[in-house]
């Protein structure tokens, strides 16, 4: 359903390119996971953070990672980026085993990924423009192309007006959105969200989730969304983005007849996978820990 609508309603903007979803869905590449953890273990000091974690993320899929604070959710993201190494187990990105990669090899792998940090992690000595342009400048892209791409990304997060501002002049929500724009520059195949809505008011948190939904449904981006907020889970696992006849992006709920297959939930519990599946299964679970986590009682 999303395939036809996305392809038939491109006039949203001249400079946003949508993936040919039909071709993408039929591609054999989609069978292979984009991210794969195989029995990954990690401990800091004597504290076990991850104890034999295995999961995979398919192309165009969003994996929501739930868990209590300090439960290793952000660590999973740092492992994917190669910022830390596991004690044992294997990590594969696009079929490539990156577990033993050195820093220069990891730099190449990281080109495929974008990362949205919890507090934005913007370079506070650089204005918004330079922050978003950072990756392109490092790649030596021509200034004209840099400016066009930066403006396109800032339009995507609805922050083109803030292009000349310094990070210190932005609100928390704006910083996260600039962080998203920076992560999306270069059209990465994978986007990693590390609690991007933490500490934000509900409307701004909703805006961030909508951006993640648009990336998933309209740009075929694989993503991992780390959170412990149930509102985020509800938005991401029950809503999808379509382009209406006027070229506007519209968010619709999956309803009773439609079940989205491109969003799954992974719950970490005591260093292990405590739950993996769809939101409906999570909400129906009788496990006391999951019930406490989901319903708060």
């Amino acid at each position: 359903m999303l395939v036809d609508e996305a392809n038939s309603a491109l006039p949203l903007s001249d400079d946003i390119e949508f993936t040919d979803m039909k071709e993408a869905v039929d591609s054999p590449d989609r069978v292979a996971p984009v991210i794969e953890f195989r029995d990954v273990c990690l401990s800091f000091d004597e504290k076990v953070i991850l104890n034999g974690i295995s999961f995979s993320v398919r192309r165009g899929e969003t994996k929501i990672i739930l868990g209590r604070s300090g439960g290793g959710k952000s660590t999973v993201i740092r492992l994917i980026l190669g910022l830390i190494k596991p004690d044992s187990g294997r990590i594969l990105i696009d079929g490539e085993d990156i577990t033993d990669h050195d820093e220069p090899a990891l730099m190449t792998v990281r080109q495929k990924m974008g990362m949205v940090f919890q507090e934005g992690a913007l370079f506070d000595s650089l204005p918004v423009y330079e922050n978003v342009a950072y990756r392109l400048r490092e790649q030596g892209v021509e200034e004209d192309e840099v400016e066009a791409e930066v403006r396109r990304m800032l339009r995507f997060v609805a922050l083109e007006d803030a292009i000349e501002k310094m990070p210190s002049e932005l609100s928390g929500g704006m910083r996260r959105r600039v962080g998203i724009a920076r992560a999306l520059v270069g059209d990465p195949e994978i986007v990693l969200f590390d609690e991007p809505t933490a500490g934000l008011d509900p409307p701004t948190a909703r805006t961030i989730c909508e951006l993640a939904i648009k990336l998933r449904d309209l740009h075929d981006v694989s993503s991992i969304f780390v959170t412990h907020e149930m509102n985020n889970l509800r938005y991401l696992s029950s809503e999808y983005a379509v382009i209406d006849e006027g070229g506007e992006v519209r968010f619709e709920k999956e309803g009773e007849r439609l079940c989205m297959i491109n969003t799954e939930i992974l719950m970490l519990r005591d260093g292990k996978v405590g739950f993996e599946g769809k939101d409906e299964e999570l909400l129906r679970s009788e496990d006391p820990y999951i019930r406490t986590f989901v319903h708060g009682k």
């Binding site: 800091f44 000091d45 004597e46 740092r78 980026l81 190669g82 910022l83 830390i84 190494k85 820093e103 220069p104 990891l106 730099m107 190449t108 990281r110 080109q111 990924m113 974008g114 990362m115 940090f117 919890q118 507090e119 992690a121 913007l122 370079f123 506070d124 950072y134 990756r135 490092e138 030596g140 920076r182």
Partner: protein, 284 residues
């Protein structure tokens, strides 16, 4: 384990790998092991800085920016330090020299002291306080606000981008600052000799000319190269190994200044001895 691991080495760079069973308390409680671990981290940082010079990208603009900040920015305090150090040297030594009827050699004494020792060491200490602390604070803040991780996530090597330009700038600018401090020290000494003790300025300048040789100048230029390297390496290491939020940043700044200053003074002794031997200077 992770707490003492530099952010750029992905958890595989320090002694904790080899002493994994003994971690963490025994490891951290043992000052000798802690020192060895830190030495290893600094060596690794140095090695990676050297290796990164072989390939691009190279950040010339950043290096120039750092040279401006370190060189031009530090000029006023270094000139002031040099001027008053030269002045006080003459103020203190002139009466003693006069006692032995050697007051005409006051220029020689101040020139020798300044160019061989005080100029390089005091400039290094001032730069360590001003620039070493700034580097440690900047990098430390970037670590605690995840900017270093963001940089790595965006495919940039922080050593190439942040460490190499700072160390290069310090190595290039500290000798120039030292020369400036030496010149202002001699001017300060000359003014004190002339205005306070009434010595003819030509006698003072003639004494300075007789007192210093090319070897002295070479020795005075070699030392700041090493000192700049030490200050840069220590400051970058302390900054990048920051942990514990804003309190940790403060701790890194203090440690950076104290450690760099101590190493400058220790290295000064060994460098002086080595230069004495190599250049055949400082012997009567």
């Amino acid at each position: 384990m992770a707490a003492i691991c530099l952010p750029f080495c992905a958890g595989r760079c320090n002694l904790t790998l080899f002493f994994k069973e003994a971690l963490p308390t025994r490891f951290l409680m043992n000052p000798l092991l802690r020192f060895i671990a830190e030495l290893q981290d600094v060596s690794l940082l140095l090695w990676r800085s050297i290796v990164s010079l072989r390939h691009g990208p190279r950040y010339f603009a950043e290096t120039l920016r750092q040279m401006d900040m370190i060189g031009v920015g530090s000029l006023p305090i270094v000139l002031l330090t040099g001027f008053f150090t030269g002045g006080v040297l003459v103020l203190q030594t002139y009466p003693t020299l006069e006692y032995y009827s050697l007051q005409n050699e006051s220029g020689r004494s101040v020139a020798t002291s300044l160019i061989r020792e005080l100029g390089p060491v005091l400039s290094a200490l001032m730069v360590s306080g001003r620039i070493g602390s700034a580097i440690a604070a900047e990098l430390g803040s970037m670590v605690v606000s995840q900017q270093i991780e963001a940089m790595r996530a965006l495919g940039t090597d922080p050593i190439r981008k942040l460490v190499v330009p700072r160390i290069t700038a310090l190595i290039m600018m500290l000798p120039l600052l030292t020369v400036a401090a030496d010149i202002f020290g001699l001017i300060g000494g000359g003014i004190v000799a002339n205005y306070i003790y009434g010595q003819d300025i030509h006698v003072f300048s003639e004494s300075v000319r007789n007192g210093i040789s090319t070897k002295d100048i070479i020795a005075g230029m070699v030392k700041p190269i090493f000192f700049g390297f030490i200050i840069g390496l220590v400051a970058c290491h302390k900054g990048l190994s920051t942990s514990g939020g804003t309190v940790g940043v403060g701790r890194s700044v203090t440690n950076s200044v104290v450690t760099a200053s101590i190493w400058v003074i220790i290295f000064d002794f060994f460098l002086a001895k080595a230069l004495q031997y190599l250049l055949d200077i400082g012997r009567i």
